[in-house]
Symmetry: C2
Subunit: 589 residues, 2 copies
Amino acid sequence: MSELFVRTLREDPADAEVASHRWLVRGGYVRRVAPGIYTWLPLGLRVLENVERIVREEMAAIGGQELRFPALLPREPYEATNRWTEYGDGIFRLHDRKGGDYLLGPTHEEMFTLAVKDMYNSYKELPLTLYQIQTKYRDEPRPRAGIMRGREFVMKDSYSFDIDEAGLAASYARHRDAYRKIFDRLGFEYVIVRAMSGAMGGSQSEEFLAVSPVGEDLFARSPGGYAANVEAVELAPPDPVPFDDAPAAHVEDTPDSPTIETLVAVANERVPRTDRPWTAADTLKNVVFMITRPGQEPEPLAIGLPGDREVDTKRLEAQLGEGVAYAPFADEDFARHPDLVKGYIGPGVLGAENASKITYLVDPRVATGTRWVTGADAAGRHVFDLVAGRDFTPDGVIEVAEVRTGDPAPDGSGPLELARGIEMGHVFALGTKYADALGLQVLDENGKLATVQMGSYGIGVSRAVAVVAEGTSDEKGLCWPRELAPFDLQIVATGKDAAVLDKATELARELDEAGVRVLLDDRKASPGVKFADAELLGMPTTVVVGRGLADGVLEVRDRRTGMSENVAVDDALGHLLALVHGRTDAETA
Amino acid sequence: MSELFVRTLREDPADAEVASHRWLVRGGYVRRVAPGIYTWLPLGLRVLENVERIVREEMAAIGGQELRFPALLPREPYEATNRWTEYGDGIFRLHDRKGGDYLLGPTHEEMFTLAVKDMYNSYKELPLTLYQIQTKYRDEPRPRAGIMRGREFVMKDSYSFDIDEAGLAASYARHRDAYRKIFDRLGFEYVIVRAMSGAMGGSQSEEFLAVSPVGEDLFARSPGGYAANVEAVELAPPDPVPFDDAPAAHVEDTPDSPTIETLVAVANERVPRTDRPWTAADTLKNVVFMITRPGQEPEPLAIGLPGDREVDTKRLEAQLGEGVAYAPFADEDFARHPDLVKGYIGPGVLGAENASKITYLVDPRVATGTRWVTGADAAGRHVFDLVAGRDFTPDGVIEVAEVRTGDPAPDGSGPLELARGIEMGHVFALGTKYADALGLQVLDENGKLATVQMGSYGIGVSRAVAVVAEGTSDEKGLCWPRELAPFDLQIVATGKDAAVLDKATELARELDEAGVRVLLDDRKASPGVKFADAELLGMPTTVVVGRGLADGVLEVRDRRTGMSENVAVDDALGHLLALVHGRTDAETA
């Protein structure tokens, strides 16, 4: 400890929002260099390498072969898949001295696809699983929480290559299984949720979320086992509602009712229902956005949804896809579209076939036969008993309405509850998206060219360090699971008696020779400082060599439980070896 | 082998200039992505990791602590040391989404200095040695020879921090020693040469060059043990020559003598010596360059040297320092400096004190008292018996004249021979250059602030893979030393007999269980193809399981010597274990 390059801090860093960030900086594990860019100090690097080792072991177990692509990549392959444009500001771009365009790789689908295309040409060579553990780069708009969401970070990304969909399904299942083992070993609570595939393309996609109140991802789960990222919750297509007995639509004066709240009040006053009062859920709210796709002019998009729900912007972003910007419809936009009456927009003008020509997508709840109160495209007027599929036909369906606690799970498995998580892993059945774009084909059994089926699988390796720290730390500091700890145990020598330091040093040497990773606190500091640092640094076990030595005993403390026991000096070595090796025999070689 | 992601090539890659590049690509070890940017395929990555392991072991042995700085770095620290500018086009620069300036780290002196400044404050915490093994970036003007000179590459860089110069000397010596051990283990011929420190600053500096005809570095060595990079060869300051008996300088007509060759001819014809003919070595050649320092206007620099020597541009670059551009004095430059008469420039107009005001530096051989034939600053006229220190006084000395085989070693240890080498390591005693620039001070024994003495030490880790391949490959392919080989041995099963593949598989399994790293060639390919691939891939030992099996024997081949021996099947396991473990017990765990 007197030689280790570490300095513990008594104060929280000013920018620390979450526990893991606070303790990793205070414990001297990481250090900020720039927003979202961190140095791994010796203790932090050891934890990072422990995560990497676990990932490598489980990837090897499913036949993954490790290689390493460059981080500095030429533009062309990313141009071929359109991601050079799609990523927008999300990647770091640069020129070399000859003016060539390069990027810092955010993910490597293109490179893996091209490597296999370059080297393989027959189904006989498949299946194949390749992976790398590599430093990656994304120019996050909001880097946060230390290493949890960085701009330079370490990822394991792997890719599977199969001759057909059945092969892809098997590769996907193998990876999913390996990920379960990895996250079980890392030792945090996680949930596997359906996910949107975003810029990755492809079909099946699941995320491994570490359950955590500080997570940025919101997910929904039901008692019956449904679990999905809120972006990926898809309502079951509702059955059409019969509308033969529905009265004809009728327009009513509803003065001063530009909001849902005012509309409900005015409707109940001027056009009351007989059976029950109008509620927000009876109204059809039409929200217009200006959408900018990469390289295109902004264009409006109208979305209709029940008036009691807001548009969830994260769900909207997921539907629009990476690199697509959106903005509220502003006054100048209204000026350019006189058909649209602010506060009273209705399906009468919306849709590619109608006056405004604005694409009109609706929430699945706006199913055929449902009746609505909605804008009549004139100030102070609304239309009642407007029936979807009879009086108006939207251009399509879009899933952007907020998901709420208590909503029924789409699969009928009960009411949803919402919780927060941190994305730790992602498995994608890409299908042929990249193979098509880059021409990856091999000869099949019949000697014909077949497009290779790919999967893509990622784990946030550096993020895992933060997530484990977040989940295990307490009010005293870090508290590592043994398999991730930088050291198996920390020996604290207290007091000024030379015999104490001698004994501590001897014990450290004996343990070291037996393959135990020991951190000896040999500093000239008070016992209080040493104990506080041991708790802050968070090795699973602390051995106190101090006052008890005169009576022939050492104290062995468990960081997690806080329990301590006295152990006879003569038994200490055996006791500690059993403690370290007994619990995790494999990891202390 | 049937599952390994590798594809051997029968043809040399078009851009391969050197053997290592050819074989590493043909053997499926690396693959080019862009100029100077390569992918490490599974076999290559294994070799790279073996090099990293050796480096880590020896760094740990001298107390080095590993950490990892980011590769993406903010501009400010490099601005503080002026390297942001000095590196010129040699680094990759980029902006983030907010317009902030970043670079991809070419070397990390600044970051290490700031980290220690951030965390340490007392001499008691020194000495300290920190290192990282990291991907680094330089925008090389001429990336070449595959991974030998790349733009993205892996380096080990370490830094020592000491309270005084004696401490720095000890740290430097420790590193030098560790480097000898590392390069001895890597197993190539190397020489330690004096080096220029270039943009690094600092005082003492040595390079570890792998001796190789394809090296880009030229070095000079003497039988008595002198060795230096030609850039760093410094002549011993010559003794002044007495000139009391020298005649006065006299200008002579030397028509049509703008070159040294024509001058010597004209002089011998019109102004003959009595003792011997004039030679080029009697003439003083004055060469003018336009020099552009970063951020400054170009300005001329005149260099005087004996007419029988050329300016060595690499030595000139080394003297000018990184980021300084130079160009020959062009016709338009002469037009702007009418004092300079092309082909007849002499010390009469050169020098800060003379008409042209152009700085005038001379080769050390132009010592006080030496007499010269040189330009008289008029077309067709030269001045004879011009004595340095009597008739002209240069502004200083510069070491840019070419070094030649047979030149005396500066330390008197005999005639120099020139050879080529590849820079594999560099040790620098930086002194206080970076600590001064970035304010790294700690309290000394007397409680006073002292500036920390730093050393900087680098090893080209990815380059080492190329250098070993270059030195060990032969006309059949790669030939790895056991400690670096991706596998200890390759088992080749030949023939169609099922018993052969069964036996080979069984042997592979047994060896694997005994900790030997085995590559089993189980492909359905001809023995010829398999043997050729085994030689190309270059594992130290090949075991042939084939025709001999019927007689109860296997063949064991040594890749390096080409020798083979038959081994009884029953003895094979023991024999191979002895072969692998006996030679290098430590590396096969």
